[in-house]
């Protein structure tokens, strides 16, 4: 049995590994050797992305059975859709729009435009290679950006200042998720010298005025795109995208219901990386729905067979804030060392996930609501009660044992709530670990430094030693 399952696990890994390389290799075939050479010269980060199977190594490490299949399936989904995004840098480039991660890609796609999410590389590159964005951070800092600004916008600015951005023709951004992110777009606009539209997300969004204000912002964005790009709004297409997104959401909610069980049948990247990619980068893509359907099937099968994601699940945690981009390995490490599962994360958690598709207006309102109540706008910019209420709700709802904060040093918004959070957790008797580190730059706190913080917490607070 052990040998057979080991063999099956190896098959899962190599099947995905080969599939990914097949997808990667098709890109130079599609574009030809000259274009490929030029791309590699102009966009050196392509070399890093070509190593995307490293991510497969990380997410499958130490995992077996359906949990391994689920984790591998997420990477298997990411690779072809990444390749298709990369195709956009060579084809129909007049339709290529640079957008910030808080701007709904659903609208851009429905207008027949292609998307390049500015933060995509800043998120993906360190996951593939921990040190890969240090160069861009240094470029931004050398241009005068203060070192204390969040390293994600610094990476984005560095890439753009180094002229490594695809040939985009318009910029869409917003006032979210933080001041650093918002401010960086003026610099990006000045560097690229192309038109920009910025969405203004209200601070207090619990009222109809806010929904109306922000819906109007989306309408203005559509008109602006029609004026500044070849894109034209296709409402039927938007409906298709939103309906597909809703289907994906249904599966995601089903998945959440399943992972509430103790022990969880799947966890970590299968839950959060799937959300990060499918909802933020390629919403409306049927393959995203297929992925979530598959994840639900795998989880259900595990439940039926009473198989846990990790054999000795001892602790369940919520991960608050974006995941440790340059140290995704931490999750499988924590599973193996302490029997600790990351069940859910703040970035995946959305309170109003469905979009009403009955009319043009209802779709825009749905998208508006979705962004305003989405994790980054809601928690990072919004009032503190959003932050705490969601966190403690998730703690109870998912039957958790601790709260794990990825205490990114560049996130001043969340750092400024740590004092209150500590007191609230103490009162409620919830173990809290705030790991000090930098989101994208491992030079600030090394992986060993992160592990040390984890070990001390487990030993001193949870009275637990490594398994």
């Amino acid at each position: 049995m052990g040998l057979l399952s080991s063999f099956t696990d190896e098959i899962v890994y190599y099947k995905t590994y080969v599939k990914n390389y097949k997808n990667i290799i098709q890109m130079p075939i599609r574009h030809g050797p000259i274009q490929t050479y030029n791309n590699l010269k102009k966009y050196p980060w392509l070399w890093q992305l070509a190593k995307v199977n490293r991510l497969l190594d990380i997410v499958t490490r130490g995992r077996s059975g359906n949990y391994r299949k689920a984790s591998a399936a997420v990477v298997e989904k990411i690779v072809p859709s990444l390749m298709s995004l990369l195709d956009n840098i060579n084809i129909n480039t007049d339709r290529l729009v640079l957008h910030e991660d808080m701007v709904p890609p659903e609208i851009i796609s429905a207008m027949g435009l292609t998307t390049w999410m500015s933060e995509l590389l800043g998120i993906l590159l360190p996951m593939v290679d921990s040190h890969s964005v240090e160069k861009y951070i240094d470029i931004a800092e050398n241009a005068g950006i203060p070192s204390d600004v969040c390293s994600l916008p610094k990476t984005t600015m560095g890439i753009i200042l180094n002229s490594e951005v695809p040939p985009v023709n318009a910029i869409l951004s917003s006032n979210s998720p933080c001041d650093g992110g918002m401010a960086s777009y003026q610099l990006i606009k000045n560097k690229l010298k192309i038109p920009m539209f910025q969405l203004d997300v209200p601070y207090n969004f619990y009222n109809d005025n806010a929904v109306e204000y922000f819906t109007n912002e989306l309408k203005k964005m559509i008109s602006w795109l029609e004026e500044h790009t070849p894109g034209k709004m296709d409402w039927d297409r938007l409906r298709e995208i939103c309906e597909e997104r809703n289907r994906m959401t249904e599966y995601e909610l089903e998945l959440w219901e399943i992972i509430r069980r103790r022990p969880a049948p799947i966890a970590a990247e299968a839950v959060f990386l799937s959300h990060l990619w499918c909802f933020n980068i390629t919403p409306g893509d049927p393959s995203g729905t297929a992925l979530f359907k598959y994840l639900v099937e795998l989880a259900n099968e595990n439940v039926k067979k009473e198989i846990a994601a990790i054999p000795n699940e001892k602790y369940r945690a919520v991960l608050w804030n974006p995941p440790f981009l340059h140290f995704i390995d931490l999750f499988s490490w924590a599973e193996q060392q302490y029997g600790l599962s990351v069940i859910i994360d703040s970035m995946s958690y959305n309170r109003q996930p469905f979009i009403d598709t009955k009319s043009e207006d209802s779709m825009l309102k749905g998208l508006a609501h979705n962004i305003m109540t989405g994790p980054m706008a809601r928690h990072t910019r919004g009032p503190a009660e959003n932050y705490f209420n969601d966190m403690f709700y998730m703690y109870t709802y998912f039957d958790l044992d601790m709260i794990l904060i990825a205490g990114h040093i560049g996130c001043k918004n969340t750092a400024a709530l740590n004092g209150i959070l500590r007191e609230k957790c103490r009162k409620k008797g919830i173990p809290l670990l705030i790991i000090d580190y930098d989101l994208s730059d491992p030079r600030v706190v090394t992986h060993d430094g992160i592990i040390q913080q984890f070990d001390r917490f487990m030993e001193n607070i949870m009275k637990e030693r490594r398994l």
């Binding site: 203060p146 207090n204 750092a415 740590n418 004092g419």
Partner: protein
């Protein structure tokens, strides 16, 4: 630098403030230029731009706000927790930046002031944003009326705008002296005045300003300055910081910062629709980098100021950990470099510290300018 001995710019702020309280005025604190002081001047209210002049470290505030938020917000929280701001009977915030929003959250949690309100200030200045902001201002007014049991209506606000504009006109006349080759006062003196204006009732400030205005023509200009500088920053409400710069020969003739006068002393439109006018005025004239659609205007204002005030060099002094000013500074530097305007970037903390280092940097800057 030669010192003036007429004490024209020396006021006993404590006495004036106490007199205002004894008169029954109600001080309401605010921390951002997107909170309109005219609304906080209605009836018995008086707007107090919150400072933490005598704060002694921020140890407790650091626990809550962390050490990576700007030292202005940490100092205010510490000062408030040290009961130094207990005289305030209310607080009005604007969701101006990440740090001020979190100051609001922490203040609410720790001190639970009787009246604490936050205005959702948009990041744009178009008609929809103005309409949104107008609603926010009306909502603030309603809450102030209810809480303090005072009647604030359109006509009271319109009257207050006229009073406020009179003060601003007088201030502008004083401020304009700085365009002269030899202004009759230093930047430090001017900022003592500005701090008083932002923290005292309008009538009291008007008396101070009138007194200064009358005597300025006869005042001899301070001597010994080598260069005229423009200071760009966010909150500077401690004139000692300006004094440090001036002590080495840089006369601060222009102040593009939140608690300064460029912008800050522009007149409000006097019409029948004051709420809309205030909203429009604040969104369009405040030159804060938090605004997403006014970058070109901000640069234009700086370039115009350099020209109008005959500025030799610019000191850009963003506060440490302020993201919006941090990124803006980089772009300002690029713009000034393109125009061959000398500039110095000086990252600073809210309180005055490291005077020696500050002076050395400014001295080196003046030498670099060959002045």
């Amino acid at each position: 630098m030669n010192k003036q001995f007429d004490n024209l710019f020396t006021f006993s702020w404590e006495d004036l403030h106490e007199a205002a309280i004894n008169e029954g005025l109600i001080p309401v604190g605010y921390t951002c230029s997107y909170v309109p002081p005219v609304l906080l001047s209605a009836e018995l209210l008086y707007p107090f731009r919150v400072n933490a002049r005598n704060v002694n470290g921020t140890e407790i505030a650091d626990i809550y706000l962390s050490q990576v938020t700007c030292s202005y917000t940490r100092s205010i929280l510490e000062y408030a927790m040290d009961d130094q701001l207990d005289f305030l009977q209310g607080w009005v915030f604007a969701a101006g930046c990440d740090h001020l929003r979190r100051l609001y959250d922490n203040l609410q949690y720790l001190l639970k002031p009787d009246f604490c309100h936050i205005i959702d200030a948009p990041h744009k200045s178009g008609s929809d944003a103005i309409a949104w902001y107008e609603k926010e201002l009306r909502s603030l007014t309603k809450k102030l009326s209810e809480h303090f049991e005072i009647d604030i209506n359109t006509s009271t606000i319109a009257k207050k705008i006229i009073e406020y504009n009179t003060l601003m006109k007088s201030l502008k006349q004083i401020s304009d002296y700085r365009k002269l080759e030899s202004p009759p006062f230093t930047g430090t003196e001017f900022h003592k005045l500005m701090t008083a204006v932002w923290t005292l009732p309008v009538n009291t400030s008007q008396k101070i300003v009138n007194n200064i205005k009358e005597k300025l023509d006869k005042r001899s200009p301070p001597k010994g300055f080598r260069a005229r500088v423009l200071v760009i920053s966010s909150v500077i409400d401690q004139h000692e910081w300006i004094d440090c710069i001036e002590k080495v020969g840089a006369l601060v003739v222009a102040d593009r910062f939140c608690t300064g006068s460029i912008p800050g002393i522009e007149l409000y439109p006097e019409t029948d629709n004051p709420f809309n006018d205030i909203a429009s005025h604040l969104l369009k004239t405040n030159s804060c980098p938090r605004m997403m659609d006014t970058f070109e205007n901000r640069i234009a204002l700086i370039l115009k100021t350099i020209q109008t005030y005959h500025v030799d060099g610019v000191i850009i002094a963003p506060m440490k950990f302020c993201d919006i000013w941090g990124v803006e500074t980089t772009q300002l530097m690029m713009s000034l470099k393109q125009k061959n305007i000398p500039f110095l970037r000086l990252e600073r903390e809210y309180g005055v510290s490291g005077e020696g280092q500050l002076q050395t940097r400014v001295q080196a800057f003046l030498e670099q300018m060959k002045l």
